[in-house]
Symmetry: C2
Subunit: 363 residues, 2 copies
């Protein structure tokens, strides 16, 4: 008894006394051979334990992998913890499903600069979701000769892009707060770069932020409040590397410790905002009476909490990214899609306590 090498298309053809072409056709083009022969091929295949054409070899020849790659900056598992990321994934998965395409989650450990995983990925295209714009994995993706769609990234001009108007949406949210009378505010934002910096953020760091989304949200805030006469450089902005409610809570605490007089706490994500709410409650601050809290994203938890936030269509974003990628028919000019957002005014925003600002600056 010897170890039999697994059957291949060639060995099957030899066994049958037909050409490899015929065996190939039996699987891929049934109309190209007589039904009897086809049956004989398939029967023999079963008898020999031939599992059908090898997918990798087929991919090599046809130049199609039947899968798209997804690059996330975070540890791969992070994606399954962030509600917005999950929504994006769901949308992308839907688009892939429609096209019968697989979705390959590419491991991109942000710690190591190991880009091999990008090189090793057998895919027909990439979707890059919210990575820092100086991420080496992103650079590696852009070098691969396959279509790419970036999402929540700056428009590179060379590849398709889908996103929202983070800056404009945050500007609008700020306007809402300004109209309520808020002038003394604090901000809690997500990480701005690849290095950990849990603490206050200088204006320089804000401008130089490598995460497009955060940079633009902050810039929308800065613009609106500057126009309203607020000296943005004096506004406490706190950054948190990890993205979860307890980061939001500790960030809020840091802002409130620095300036207990802030009337509004603006968070650049709902997850952070929900944490900030917890911290407010811990301090006995009633929202919105004593403190206004706002978020961004429009996740389910935010809705349940009645959070004032900006709703963005995360699922649609994923689906749009997938569609753009899978329908990269011809070398048309790179497309750029902006999806609509919606300001959701909940019950966590209201006029500052006692309307102090209005009294001081009113007519």
């Amino acid at each position: 008894m010897h170890v039999r090498r697994p059957a291949t298309l060639a060995s099957l053809a030899a066994e049958l006394g037909v050409s490899r072409t015929t065996v190939s056709n039996a699987y891929n083009r049934p109309d190209q051979l007589s039904p009897e022969l086809r049956r004989r091929v398939l029967d023999t295949a079963r008898r020999l334990g031939y599992p059908g054409p090898d997918p990798v070899a087929r991919s090599l020849r046809t130049r199609k992998a039947g899968a798209v790659g997804l690059l996330l900056t975070e540890n791969l598992s992070y994606a399954f913890r962030d509600p917005a990321a999950i929504g994006f994934l769901e949308g992308l998965a839907l688009a892939c499903e429609d096209a019968g395409t697989g979705l390959l989650l590419v491991p991109a450990n942000p710690e190591r600069e190991d880009v091999a995983s990008v090189h090793r990925a057998g895919v027909d295209g990439f979707v890059v979701y919210s990575v820092p714009d100086d991420d080496p994995h992103l650079a590696a993706v852009l070098e691969r000769p396959v279509p790419t769609v970036v999402c929540d990234q700056p428009d590179l001009g060379t590849v398709d892009r889908v996103g929202i108007d983070d800056r404009g949406a945050m500007y609008e949210l700020a306007q809402h707060l300004i109209s309520l009378g808020h002038r003394r505010i604090g901000v809690v934002c997500m990480r701005l770069a690849r290095d950990r910096n849990d603490g206050f953020v200088t204006p320089d760091r804000q401008h130089a932020a490598h995460f497009h989304v955060q940079r633009n949200r902050l810039s929308g805030l800065a613009e609106a409040f500057s126009e309203a006469g607020v000296d943005w450089s004096q506004v406490p902005v706190v950054e948190r590397f990890d993205h979860n409610p307890s980061s939001g809570a500790s960030g809020a605490a840091q802002v409130l410790d620095r300036d207990p007089q802030v009337t509004a706490l603006i968070c650049t994500s709902d997850v952070l905002a929900l944490g900030a709410m917890t911290e407010a409650a811990r301090r006995g601050l009633r929202v919105p009476h004593d403190l206004t809290v706002t978020g961004f994203d429009g996740i389910r938890g935010a809705e349940e909490a009645g959070l004032t936030t900006v709703r963005q269509p995360v699922l649609e974003k994923g689906r749009a990214a997938g569609k753009l990628l899978l329908d990269a028919n011809e070398r048309s000019r790179p497309r750029s899609v902006n999806l609509a957002t919606e300001l959701m005014i909940g019950n966590t925003s209201g006029p500052p306590r006692g309307g102090a600002e209005e009294r001081w600056f009113g007519p």
Copy 2:
């Protein structure tokens, strides 16, 4: 100006006047050639726009795809909506990440019997998660000559398996309810087979259920309550095809309409149980005073709601599946891993209203 064919390792070698082996070594085994030559190779590669060795060709030659496939029965996007599935995915993603392996989500539309996606997947192994045991996609996976791990599936004896003791865990939960005095109960369960059957379930259908997990949970219940003297064939068991809270609500409604006297509603998942709670509230039934409700899984929402349930380590399940697969070193005998569960007694279970049962059957 002509369309230049993309550079390959061979064309690069020709350009440089070295062998293909050398170019290959420049990328894969830097120690096999002099630093100067390597630099020259890499520089020329950049100049010619050669993106590095083609991953598919490499996979063909090395017989490694660098990815594992995940097969789910549901529409691919379903995975991102079910908390337990998300937990599993996260665990699996963690294991893959550790190994530097990609995770390919294989589209397996349960509508079509189209198994091509399984054949097309270039992977080094498969994880199969909670599909009906007669699913053609599962059969297709088993035909592929790669290691496979099934999760929440019956032990096939031929491939590795990871899961929990669904039957035992549900038996234990039932014991808890029995000890509280419940004898008149109703059940809401998830789909039992590939066909849609939103309604009452015959004992036959319970036995023949194609979803291993549901079959065993029901069987654990049946065993415990039968031992307690309950005629299981009279217990209303309602099935729901879709898995979401509103299915739980409508399922609960159907049970309560049939028998308003039930004192406990046992749901085979937390998601269903949370829906059942909503329905109870809608009917003005206080939980647990008027009605006991239990779930299964131990998702976050259940914890927050104080649901009596069985906690199972979903993340660990995913991680274990990944480890088993990635460490499929030698042809050892197929392994079978059972993870521990924990009965979580919350505040949704209590003695039947007025202790009626006890009074009727007491000493």
